[in-house]
């Protein structure tokens, strides 16, 4: 579309990093609007967040790319490639991928909230990637905005210069021109040799039923053009490029070629998504580059759980769906597993609980999968008495206690930012979750940074919710893996009507086992409908029952009136009854609603 001669010096590849809710997506919208890529009619709030889930939750999960053309005050036209990044701690890997395609980053800080834990995490990640970062201070239209204070905070806490940070309101559009100028002046143009052999990093991809895999690339060196035969250096696959192009908001704009420094996409009738993995390097088959790009830091899943199709016949569909999701979410891992209770499914690895929930929702919405999910689990290291050691991702696979020498569990370094009045409750929460206190630092008087070492196992159980509720939403949390420590862990089994339900087994610290077992039983009692017989629900450790509840037998379920000759109405009542049964999982002779599995695992922190 553009006939503009795209000189490297007039290209800027950048992203926006921010803490969740600080207005990143809104700013992105304004930039797009201001550069006139979209007409008003096309402009919809938060154009970049185009996944349903993102819009609903107001968070960005997947990276998105937009190419804008901006005439700067120096009179020249610039190509601005903006790569949107997720803000949530779970999606650090996505952030990392996006950063690899950029040369600089805008840091958005909320003028009313200041620096938060994820702000730090994301900025450090950007700096680690060698990006130039400049701050903008957003939401200055709010009465509670304190831009000067926030500037100082940015300098004190992050250590980047902030005195001339643009003061903006993405909501009202104030200061947008200033931001665009800053992008041009403060973010470096890409470097790279267009004459060198092709070297391009795959930073994302998507799947299109007509064109196959659409590969998103950032070219370091060389040129990629239609008809060129390219090689994926890691997978070794070779394909012929069918189409190259750049990103318009929500659509692809084909062009003849992409050259060093540019960000764009290409297609090559790639059917097998494994051949074009994110992180791989693309080069020209005829003139390959010497060595592949480093790709980026492989992020390992921290949380595992089982996904099972509610209808076992749909197992192959679930496999296809996971494969497609993995295509542009490399942090999602899965492998087949079998549960006695749930049949065939997959054990999946996630970056965190939100990641898990997002994948679950995407499977449900985009692939229409009805899922049963098992208890999330972290990876434990099991040391056996015979001296061997293995990593346990599925509690059901824990060997008999007599074969276990000891176990280790993952610890995280947790950093909680909170206003001083909530330090007490948050410390209490961390203690309850077996946290080991490290330090408290005050950034000014209004903000404390609490550091705790916490077992990941405790973090994946509604820790975020508990944190939010105990701080009235003011606390923010970030964590990174610290390492493994030896711990007194036990496997808690749940027995329903005397039958052990493997999908509900989980590993827990011995001190918390009774409490957790009791809660599980109570919750299950609420979830399991009354049957024609009494159902005992038990929590047990190694055969020893530690908690018990009973679902009383149903005493009465009578078809009420006669309704004259309206037999159809009677039939409908019975059919409803029968339909209800279909949404149940049969465990022995007990029928359990599918959503009970997830509900039981979401044990609240009400008390």
């Amino acid at each position: 579309m553009s006939t503009l001669k795209e000189q490297q010096k007039n290209i800027r590849n950048f992203c926006i990093v921010a803490h969740i809710d600080h207005g990143k997506s809104t700013l992105a919208d304004r930039l797009i609007e201001h550069t006139g890529v979209l007409t008003d009619r096309e402009m919809q709030d938060q154009v970049l967040d185009n996944m349903d889930i993102e819009r609903e939750r107001g968070i960005t999960i997947k990276s998105q790319c937009v190419r804008m053309v901006y005439r700067a005050q120096d009179g020249e036209e610039y190509i601005l490639n903006m790569i949107d990044t997720p803000g949530h701690v779970d999606f650090g890997y996505e952030v990392s991928r996006s950063l690899a395609a950029c040369d600089g980053a805008i840091l958005v800080v909320d003028a009313t909230q200041g620096v938060e834990a994820q702000t730090l995490a994301n900025v450090y990640m950007a700096l680690d990637h060698g990006l130039d970062v400049f701050p903008v201070i957003n939401k200055i239209d709010l009465p509670s905005a304190e831009p000067e204070k926030v500037k100082d905070e940015i300098e004190d806490v992050i250590g980047i210069e902030a005195q001339d940070a643009p003061l903006i309101s993405a909501k009202t559009g104030t200061g947008i021109e200033e931001v665009l100028e800053a992008v041009v002046t403060r973010i470096p143009a890409p470097t790279g040799d267009a004459g060198a052999p092709l070297k391009a990093l795959i930073f994302d991809s998507t799947y299109d039923s007509y064109r196959g895999v659409i590969v998103f690339v950032r070219l370091t060196d060389g040129v990629i053009r239609n008809g060129m035969r390219v090689r994926f250096m890691q997978s070794g696959a070779e394909e012929e490029v069918v189409e190259t192009g750049t990103f318009g908001p929500g659509r692809f704009i084909p062009c003849e070629e992409l050259s060093a420094g540019m960000v764009g996409y290409f297609t090559a009738s790639i059917k097998n998504i494994r051949n074009a993995r994110v992180g791989d390097t693309v080069t020209e088959s005829a003139r390959p580059c010497a060595e592949a790009l480093p790709g980026y830091k492989k992020v390992l899943p921290m949380v595992y759980c089982g996904f099972y199709p509610a209808d076992n016949a749909r197992y192959p569909e679930l496999r296809d769906a996971l494969e497609k999701l993995q295509l542009n979410d490399a942090s999602l891992l899965y492998e087949p597993e079998t549960s006695q209770a749930l049949g065939f499914g997959f054990r999946c690895g996630f970056l965190g609980l939100l990641h898990l929930e997002v994948i679950e929702e995407r499977l449900s919405r985009e692939y229409n999968m009805d899922l049963v999910t098992t208890a999330p689990s972290v990876i434990y290291k099991v040391h056996k008495t015979d001296g061997s050691e293995f990593e346990l991702t599925n509690p059901s696979n824990l060997p008999d206690p007599s074969e276990i020498e000891y176990m280790e569990e993952p610890m995280v370094k947790g950093e909680i930012m909170v206003t001083p009045e909530y330090v007490g409750p948050i410390m209490q929460l961390c203690q309850e979750r077996r946290g080991v206190y490290v330090s408290t630092d005050y950034i000014e008087q209004s903000r404390a940074v609490l550091k705790y070492d916490l077992p990941l196992n405790e973090v994946i159980y509604d820790f975020f919710d508990a944190l939010k509720s105990r701080s009235r939403g003011y606390a923010s949390f970030d964590y990174e893996l610290k390492g493994y420590v030896r711990s007194d862990l036990v496997k808690l089994d749940i027995l329903i009507n005397k039958e052990q339900v493997d999908a509900l087994s989980f590993i827990v610290h011995a001190d918390g086992a009774y409490e957790r077992g009791r809660k599980m039983c109570e919750k299950l009692k609420e979830e399991i409908p009354r049957h024609l017989f009494e159902i005992p629900i038990q929590a047990a450790i190694g055969g020893k029952v530690i908690a018990r509840e009973t679902v009383k037998a149903l005493r009465k379920d009578v078809l009420a009136k006669c309704y004259g000759g309206d037999i159809t109405r009677k039939r409908k009542l019975l059919e409803k009854q029968k339909e209800g049964k279909k949404r149940m999982r049969q465990i022995g002779s007990v029928e359990i609603p599918q959503n009970a599995f997830l509900n039981v695992l979401k044990l609240g922190d009400e008390d």
Binding site: Y207, S209, G212, K271, D311, A313, R314, E317, D320, A321, E366, Y367, N368, M369, L532, F533, L554, R555, K556, D557, V558, L559, A560, K561, C562, G564, G565, D566, I567, T568, K570, R571, L573, L574, E575, Q577, K578, K581
Partner: protein, 416 residues
């Protein structure tokens, strides 16, 4: 001769009871009621013409039932018009059971005498409770004294086949209170008693109080929120009903229905209801009335103005026409038949459907029998007492699998 049952729906009441979700209206002007009767008269004749060819000649009407609503709130003259129309257009057996639903407080001795004279030979009186505070809470338009008066007058008018309806599980009701109600009713020696459990239905004031699960708004209709009896108490009421009525010479022939057992020939069992339970053919006339003819079910539209406007045109009136396939016929046979105390006879089943009960339901029956919910009595399959308590569950097991259920169309198919 094939038996046919006729039903006429009278959708008018003096007032709506708080628990009632039947199709009926209070405060309808007399001329509108007359217009309704006119429309039903047309439907009666049209429906006769619409019967499958020649079959009207083969049918003999064994039962006519005026239900509601409150048919006894109508001028007897209107009931007579309806009855005569049916007698004109259908072959009504001289032995036919002709029932009129009556609410106490709507009938006087002369009115009852007129009913008797025109040929009504059975009354179904809605007593519901013999405690005034229950009647008030239910929103009934009558008192205990009204019931006694209506009952006495009915006997005086000549009725020798009277059924009374009673409800159990009322708000605040104890087992003892309920048994007093039942005893007082039984002391009247009606030929038939229907004893139903109160059910809280959507769209009623009771639903607002008891059905929504949330804390009821204060003072819905000024009703105090008396708690509903616990399940155990409610079931105790039912069990006591069976024991007590049997001791009083009644015979339970259906889950909720009891008949005087004078000579063991079941002459006081409701012929009309048995037509429903045994899947006999029946035609329902009037607003929302249901019918089944030759294994086709249909029911009339439910808007009063539309009904009157249709002037009896069966094509306009009849909705939800469903041809029952063999599967549906079998299911109905089971879930209706098991309501009856005589149960399901495997021989009769096989004769009707040409397939053995065991082949179709063997596993289900064995499993439910092992749970103590079904039993074999005199070579027939019956619900046990416990099976009756949870009959909804038990009967739902007799719905057969749809073939298409097993092959669910995958929606997220391979795109490439």
């Amino acid at each position: 001769m094939k038996e046919l049952a006729l039903y006429v729906h009278v959708p008018f009441c003096v007032k709506k009871c708080y628990y009632c979700d039947f199709l009926s209206f209070a405060e309808i002007a007399p001329e509108d009621r007359t217009a309704y009767v006119d429309a039903v008269l047309e439907e009666i004749s049209e429906a006769a013409a619409a019967l499958p060819k020649q079959s009207n000649a083969q049918y003999e009407v064994s039962s006519i039932y005026f239900g509601g609503g409150t048919p006894s709130s109508m001028d007897p003259y209107q009931i007579a018009r309806l009855l005569h129309q049916m007698q004109d257009y259908y072959r009504v057996s001289p032995e036919a059971e002709i029932t009129l639903e009556v609410n106490p407080g709507t009938v006087t001795l002369p009115k009852l005498q007129e009913y008797y004279k025109m040929g009504i030979n059975r009354l179904s009186i809605g007593a519901q409770s013999m405690m005034n505070h229950d009647l008030m809470h239910l929103g009934r338009a009558h008192s205990v004294a009204d019931f006694y008066e209506a009952y006495r007058n009915a006997r005086t008018a000549g009725f020798r086949n009277i059924s009374v309806d009673v409800m159990m599980g009322l708000p605040g009701q104890t087992v003892g209170e309920y048994m007093n109600t039942l005893r007082e009713l039984a002391d009247c020696h009606p030929e038939h008693i229907s004893a139903y459990s109160l059910s809280v239905e959507e769209g009623t004031p009771y639903y607002e109080i008891y059905g929504t699960g949330r804390e009821a708004a204060d003072n819905i209709l000024g009703l105090s929120k008396l708690p509903l009896p616990e399940e155990e108490a409610e079931r105790a009421m039912y069990h006591a009903t069976v024991n007590f009525l049997v001791s009083m010479g009644y015979h339970r022939y259906e889950i909720s229905n009891f008949a005087k057992n004078d000579d063991g020939n079941g002459r006081y069992e409701s012929r009309h209801n048995k037509a429903y339970w045994t899947r006999g053919d029946y035609l329902g006339f009037g607003l929302g009335a249901s019918s089944m003819i030759a294994n086709e079910r249909f029911s009339n539209l439910r808007n009063l103005a539309d009904y009157v406007e249709a002037k009896g045109d069966t094509k306009t009136l009849r909705k939800d026409r469903t041809e029952l396939g063999l599967k549906e016929q079998i299911e109905e046979y089971m879930f209706l038949g098991l309501r009856m105390a005589r149960g399901i006879s495997p021989a009769a089943f096989e004769e009707t459907f040409d397939v053995s009960l065991k082949a179709l339901y063997g596993e289900v029956i064995d499993a439910l029998a092992a749970e103590g919910l079904l039993a074999w009595e005199n070579d027939a399959l019956v619900l046990t007492t416990r099976g009756i308590d949870v009959s909804n569950r038990v009967l739902s097991y007799f719905l057969l699998e749809d073939e298409e259920d097993t092959a669910e169309a995958p929606e997220a198919k391979e795109e490439a």
